[in-house]
Symmetry: C2
Subunit: 145 residues, 2 copies
């Protein structure tokens, strides 16, 4: 799903009919080098800009959830106002820029493995994810006060 433009076959392979809406969404979502983090609204905006025909909001929700269910998108919880999604479906860490509300993926070199020393009886660990919140280091602005 990460390679080039034959999303039609890829969708079929997932048991999803390759409608033009889905193919367009694949292009927007998966035809890129880097991880993409987005909200439904971001996505609707991008699609309507790139497309001459309009795509229904319901379809965007439907398709995002279909891709999520198939394991090609992952929901990321940053803030309870709205859902974020991520084309990087692995367990991974994030930086979150509180000024720009931008998410940045970490790779293995960015954060050392997290050492969990507690275990909860009868429970196994499914994921360990770190969220690092950053904001502008406003030394300059402080001087203004």
């Amino acid at each position: 799903m990460v390679k080039n433009c034959n999303f039609i076959e890829k969708l079929r392979g997932l048991g999803l009919r390759p409608t033009k809406q889905r193919v367009k969404m694949c292009e927007v979502l998966f035809n890129r080098e880097k991880t993409f983090h987005f909200t439904i609204n971001d996505l609707v905006k991008m699609i309507s800009e790139e497309m001459n025909e309009k795509i229904s909001l319901a379809t965007v929700y439907n398709t995002v959830h279909a891709f999520e269910k198939k394991g090609y998108l992952k929901e990321i919880t940053i803030n309870s106002d709205k859902s974020y999604f991520d084309t990087n479906t692995s367990v991974h860490h994030h930086f979150y820029d509180e000024d720009t509300h931008e998410l940045i993926d970490c790779d293995e070199n960015d954060i050392d493995p997290v050492n969990i020393k507690k275990n909860i009886t009868g429970k196994k660990i499914n994921s360990v994810e770190v969220l690092v919140k950053v904001a502008s280091d406003n030394q300059n602005q402080k001087k203004l006060n």
Copy 2:
């Protein structure tokens, strides 16, 4: 705010009038040994059970936000469906039980300090929080398949 029942003085000290709604909410929220994680709905339910008079939903929202602003509650983002709040306002890590949807605080002994090796130019780190998702270790259930 964590001690006993003279919340009236404590509220006044914060510049908040000690109305009976606020005092009741203090009792529910802060009269406990351990950290308390809750949603607005949890709280409304608990209050209406403990109280003979009813309290307005708007007041619960107002008061939770007032306490948050004063630094006695912290919003925790677990899931984008609804907001969670935490009586532990420090930067700290959580275990999240995906079966019971329960949050458990970590203390310093539970997780080693997280070593962040990346820095983003012009940005400073405001917080580093780990979310460990756990679920029942269902070896037994697997045998049933």
